[in-house]
């Protein structure tokens, strides 16, 4: 029977979900406790899989000292592991740098890797020795390539590297402890347990270089959508036999796109949205799904969509009729009026000039970002810092359709 360990990362325990706005009544508690329940599920997973140890690859908490509730929950979970002799190896990441005393310090059965310099800990387990190497962030922003400091050493058995790092630049993630896959492979580990990127990612097959992804999706952003959980790693001796994902999230963020093309009225639109929602809900295995819908395409319903508060009202109307396993988080639209853009581009109309301007900007994301940054300067609130960071193309498309719609409206008036 192969031996097992569990790899989890970016748990951000007891931190709020971001960017979801006010949900319908009754979901606050579910959302509030989701990360902690995912943690409990991780502990259950360790016990059920009879794992020999658990590896946490950073950002256990959203801030260095965590929260009282989070610390308490972690303590209880680790006590459960301790009862079964399951050791825990943890590094601190950019969100919870080891700037002072670790919230995990002093817990029985937990090894917290020190900051800045990788160290290793060898376990003499009944099935054979296992050596875990790791290093914690000592501060939020680490620009050093920590991967270069890892060395396998001569100890027999499996060697696992634990690192919170950036393999290249990723949208929505700051670049910390940057390194390359080649740097990691050169360290001759048998498995790299990475943290920082919130979406699961297998960066290298042999040896496995794995981002476990966050335990529980944290927002409606693309990288946070879909299943989240941990990785079960099976091994023998110094060889990883298999690694597989386990879904441990309690709330799932999903997104669907629904085209308004061919839809004649509101009833059609609602049917189309519900049909799209049913698909993702069915795949969520009973979890609460927070669904963001984006309306696309062109059609006569566009005029409906651009009415003030229409999309908000549509969301509320749908949400009010849903069961407990689906929340319509937001409905956005990049849908446009029923015009042929190519034909319009060829025309002599000013709209062609406007389309050209949108096309020019779409072809220059840097300029688009610059424009949005300039606009965003209007906002001084800290919550809006770095506001236009995601789906710039979608935002530009929405803006284009808005402008075109208004221009066509003006034409109609003329």
């Amino acid at each position: 029977m192969p031996r097992r360990f569990i790899h989890a990362a970016d748990l951000h325990l007891d931190s709020p979900f971001v960017g979801i706005g006010t949900l319908r009544e009754g979901f606050a508690e579910t959302m509030r406790d989701a990360s902690l329940e995912a943690w409990d599920a991780l502990i259950d997973c360790c016990l059920e899989e009879e794992a020999e140890f658990l590896v946490l690859s950073g950002d256990l908490f959203d801030r260095a000292d965590g929260t009282p509730r989070g610390r308490s929950r972690v303590r209880r979970g680790i006590e459960r592991l301790q009862e079964r002799g399951i050791r825990v190896f943890a590094v601190h990441g950019n969100h919870d740098p080891l700037s002072g005393r670790s919230p995990l310090a002093g817990l029985e059965g937990v090894h917290v890797f020190r900051k800045d310099v990788p160290t290793s800990e060898t376990l003499d387990l009944p099935g054979g020795p296992v050596t875990v190497h790791g290093v914690s962030f000592g501060k939020r922003e680490v620009s050093e390539n920590l991967a270069l400091k890892f060395a396998r050493g001569d100890a027999p058995g499996l060697h696992v590297g634990v690192l919170h790092c950036s393999l290249g630049e990723r949208e929505g993630h700051g670049t910390y402890a940057p390194c390359t896959v080649a740097d990691l492979v050169a360290a001759r580990m048998d498995y790299w347990a990475l943290g920082h990127i919130h979406a699961y990612s297998e960066e290298h097959a042999e040896p496995p270089v794995i981002y476990a992804g966050t335990l529980q999706g944290r927002s409606p952003k693309p990288g946070e959508r879909g299943p989240h959980g941990a990785v079960v790693v099976e091994f023998e001796g110094d060889r990883v036999l298999e690694h597989r994902r386990v879904e441990l999230d309690r709330v799932r963020f999903e997104a669907v796109e629904v085209s308004i093309e061919g839809l004649d009225d509101e009833a059609d639109l609602e049917r189309a949205l519900r049909s799209a929602a049913a698909g993702v809900v069915a795949q969520a295995d009973g979890r609460v799904v927070l669904l963001r819908a984006t309306l696309t395409g062109r059609g006569p319903l566009y005029e409906l969509l651009v009415r003030d508060e229409y999309l908000t009202g549509l969301r509320s109307a749908l949400d009010d009729q849903e069961a407990d396993d689906l929340v319509w988080e937001r409905i956005t639209s990049t849908a446009g009026p029923a015009v042929d853009l190519d034909e319009l581009r060829q025309s002599n109309a000013f709209a062609a000039e406007v389309l050209g301007a949108f096309d020019t900007l779409a072809a220059d994301p840097t300029e688009l970002q610059h424009v949005l940054d300039g606009l965003a300067k209007s906002f001084t609130d800290t919550a809006l810092a770095g506001l236009p960071t995601e789906d710039l193309a979608g935002r530009l498309a929405a803006a284009r359709e808005l402008a075109l719609g208004l221009m066509l409206e003006q034409d109609g008036a003329a």
Binding site: P16, G19, G21, R69, F350, A352, L375, A399, A403, M407
Partner: protein, 802 residues
């Protein structure tokens, strides 16, 4: 296209008025309240649609009631004439010269892409527009003014920009308080404030962790103080107790019980005495039985003596043995047999002698042969026994028996032989047999006597007395045996009694009375004394044990308290109890104080722990954090939407600016010509800053190339420049394929001095050479200036309406 006829069907106070402009410059002039502005508005309304009444004001409401309506005849560039008739609230009707409806397309073609906004901004302007020339330094005004004139097709940018801005402003405006952004910001700020407060509390939790450490330290300190005070008190108490324990030991020692002096009899001795005492009844009973047995033996002996006397046996003579008795019996039997035989033979002989022939009865041979054989056998046995055991009587008896037996057997032989019938011979033979029998009888009697002699009996006993004698022998023997048994039992009982007496003597020592009752009395007394002695000894032992127990307890107390610490013992012994009592009170007070402090510290620690545990279990912080995040997300959503609107606005502006940029040189070029004409060459061109560069200034360029900011120009010069720009815009728009539209001017020369007025009139006259210009004014000097500039102009004079 140009306007050929204007008819107000129902519009303000000008209902029924008809004005028929000509190509080129038409000056429509009249006093105030002659309906110039209404006529201008009517043209706009008929061509582009009447705005809501509130947009035009109550003055445009038809005096006669009904909807606003009018007709405008237009002549297109290809010379076709159409009538546009529009009633507010109804569709526009386009008819040709024959009055036939021709559809909207004709109007649309005539107007081109022009919108009412374009018409307003480019084709229609008044003195206020000229006065606002300084606003051209505002980038948006500048761009808007320029762009709105030169849109190449479709709708103008300005309405779109306005709509976008309006929607954006509805979401967010700087300093705005009623927009969703303001509300969301307020909510987010409040939520964050609540979160910060909670985080302060969470910080308080962390501080509580510090407080926990402090509370634990306080408990430890209090505990140390409590322990120290308690130990001091305990030490003092220990000294006091030790002192008391030592005193107790001394007191106990003084109370050690004295021994009584009486020697306690040993258990063995007492047991021996008790055993003897227990055996004394046995001894007494044994002696009593012995006496009885002795009496019994004497009685039996007497009875035996009398029996002896009765049969003549000396008192000391031994009784014949059983064998002797057997011999006697055999001898007696032999005598009786011999006599019976002799008698029988005698009878036979006599019978034979007297009654010859006397039948002879056959003698019963078998029993006699048996008897004879038996007798011999017994006799032989007797001899053998007597031989072996040396019993003379037995030997004698045996001899007799053998002889007798042989006699019997011989007699039998003779008898048998005599059976042969020879009666006489037989009688003889019977006589002989009789004689022989008699001999044998004598021999038997002799043997009998011999047997008696052997048995010590007198020879006078007869055979028939044998049974009595033998019975007497039995009685004697039984008496002797009984006497012997009684004697033996008496001896045994006496021996038993004697043994007990000897044992008593051994126990009691010399002087022990031999008499059993005395002995019993002595032993009873001795045992009583023993009991008393033992009781005394036991009491002493009990007292001693009790004392020892007390002593041990006292010592244990001392040991327990002193733990063999000699110094402690010395300190206890040296303790001043009065001082100790005072010191005890002080220390007890310190202990109470320390305990109170400890209790308080423990309670504080518990409270802090409870606080932390409660906080750890509390989801309040998480709830507030989520609320703050939600509020920020709501704020972000508003900002997102605003950004999208503003992005659209920006891109449309860019499109417009790009368009403007492309066409601006033409506008400026045309304007420069007009400026140079209007200023008689003083100024040759204008320059405007690029794009939307804020703070940049518009400048006019002099003949020598010097640049003068608009702000430094006179109001009249600025107005003149603006007029030239507008004229250039109209030309540029038309040159770029835009529609040919009439230009409507309302008192644009009002603020100009005569020189500038003349120059401006020249610009207008020049413009009128390419476009129809309808100039509305109530100022005669303006009419005159225009006449001077364009002598061929058309004048239409309006009368005051009220």
């Amino acid at each position: 296209m140009r306007i050929a006829r204007i008819e107000a069907i129902a519009y303000g106070a000008i209902g029924g008025r008809v004005v028929e402009p000509e190509p080129g410059l038409t000056v429509i002039h009249g006093p105030n309240e002659s309906g110039k502005s209404s006529t201008m508005q009517l043209i706009r309304g008929v061509l582009f649609g009447f705005p809501a009444l509130r947009g035009e004001g109550p003055r445009r409401e038809p005096k006669g009631g009904g909807q606003r309506s009018g007709r405008v005849d237009i002549v297109t560039e290809d010379g076709r004439r159409f009538r546009v008739e529009r009633t507010h609230g109804s569709s526009v009707v386009i008819t040709d010269e024959q009055g036939e409806p021709v559809g909207d397309a004709a109007l649309m073609r005539a107007l081109g892409i022009a919108s009412v906004d374009l018409f307003d901004r480019v084709q229609t302007f008044d003195s206020r527009d000229l006065a606002s020339m300084g606003l051209l330094d505002d980038p948006s005004v500048r761009a808007g003014v320029l762009a709105s004139a030169v849109l190449g097709g479709g709708a103008g940018a300005e309405p779109v920009l306005t709509a976008l801005q309006k929607r954006a402003d509805a979401l967010y405006k700087k300093q705005g308080e009623n927009q969703p952004y303001a509300h969301a910001l307020k909510a987010a700020t409040a939520a964050r404030r609540a979160l910060r407060e909670a985080e302060k509390d969470a910080g308080a939790i962390d501080r509580s962790a510090d407080a926990l450490t402090e509370a634990e330290a306080r408990v430890a300190r209090a505990n140390e103080q409590l322990v120290a005070a308690t130990q001091a008190l305990q030490y003092l108490d220990r000294l006091v107790q030790l002192r008391a324990a030592l005193a107790e030991v001394a007191a106990v020692d003084a109370q050690r019980p004295e021994a009584s002096g009486a020697e306690e009899p040993s258990v063995e001795l007492v047991s021996e005495y008790r055993a003897v005492l227990a055996d004394l009844p046995v001894a007494i009973d044994a002696r009593r039985r012995a006496t009885q047995h002795e009496l019994d033996a004497a009685g039996e002996h007497e009875r035996a003596v009398r029996a002896r006397e009765r049969i003549g046996l000396p008192a000391t003579a031994p009784l014949p043995s059983i064998a002797d008795e057997s011999g006697l019996r055999a001898a007696a039997e032999a005598v009786r047999e011999a006599e019976r035989e002799a008698t029988r033979l005698g009878d036979i002989a006599r019978s034979a002698a007297t009654q010859l022939p006397v039948p002879v009865e056959p003698a019963p041979p078998a029993p006699r042969r048996g008897l004879g054989a038996a007798l011999i056998a017994v006799s032989l046995v007797a001899i053998a026994v007597g031989w072996f055991v040396d019993i003379t009587a037995a030997i004698i008896g045996g001899i007799i028996g053998v002889a007798l037996g042989a006699a019997i057997l011989g007699g039998l032989g003779a008898s048998t032989r005599s059976e042969r019938p020879q009666q006489h011979a037989a009688a003889d033979q019977h006589q002989a047999a009789l004689a022989n029998a008699e001999v044998l009888a004598d021999q038997a009697r002799a043997a009998w006597r011999a047997a008696l002699a052997v048995s010590g009996l007198t020879g006078e006993l007869r055979v028939d007395q044998l049974d009595d004698v033998l019975a007497t022998f039995g009685a004697i023997r039984a008496a002797d045996d009984a006497a012997t048994r009684s004697t033996v039992q008496a001896q045994a009982d006496r021996a038993t009694a004697d043994a007990i007496v000897v044992r008593a003597a051994a126990a009691l020592g010399e002087g022990a009375p031999a008499e059993l009752e005395q002995l019993r009395t002595t032993i009873d007394r001795a045992l009583h004394d023993f009991d008393a002695q033992r009781e005394l000894a036991a009491k002493h032992r009990t007292d001693l044990q009790a004392w020892q127990h007390r002593r041990e307890l006292a010592q244990e107390q001392v040991d327990s308290l002193s733990r063999a610490d000699a110094a402690l013992i010395a300190a206890a012994e040296a303790l001043d109890l009065d001082q100790a009592e005072a010191q005890h009170d002080v220390l007890a007070g310190q202990v109470v104080a320390a305990r109170d402090e400890h209790t308080d510290a423990v309670a504080a620690l518990g409270g802090t722990r409870a606080l932390i545990e409660n906080d750890e279990d509390s989801a309040d912080l998480a709830t507030l954090a989520q609320s703050a995040a939600d509020a920020e997300a709501d704020l972000r959503a508003v900002a997102d939407e605003w950004l999208t609107l503003q992005l659209a606005h920006t891109v449309v502006e860019r499109a417009r600016d790009r368009f403007v940029e492309e066409h601006q040189p033409g506008v400026f070029e045309r304007a420069a010509t007009q400026i140079e004409t209007a200023t008689h060459g003083s100024w040759v061109s204008v320059r405007m800053p690029d794009g939307e560069k804020a703070g940049a200034r518009s400048e006019i360029v002099g003949r020598d190339g010097a640049r003068t900011p608009f702000a430094e120009l006179s109001e009249g010069t600025v107005g003149l420049v603006y007029l030239c720009l507008r004229a250039g815009l109209v030309d540029e728009m038309h040159a770029d394929g835009g529609p040919e539209l009439p230009v409507l001017m309302d008192d644009v020369l009002t603020h100009l001095d005569p020189e500038r007025r003349a120059g401006a009139a020249a610009v207008i006259a020049d413009l009128a050479t390419r476009h129809q210009v309808l100039y509305f004014t109530c100022h005669p000097e303006q009419v005159q200036a225009l006449r001077d500039a364009d002598p061929g102009l058309t004048e239409i004079v309006l009368e005051r309406l009220v």
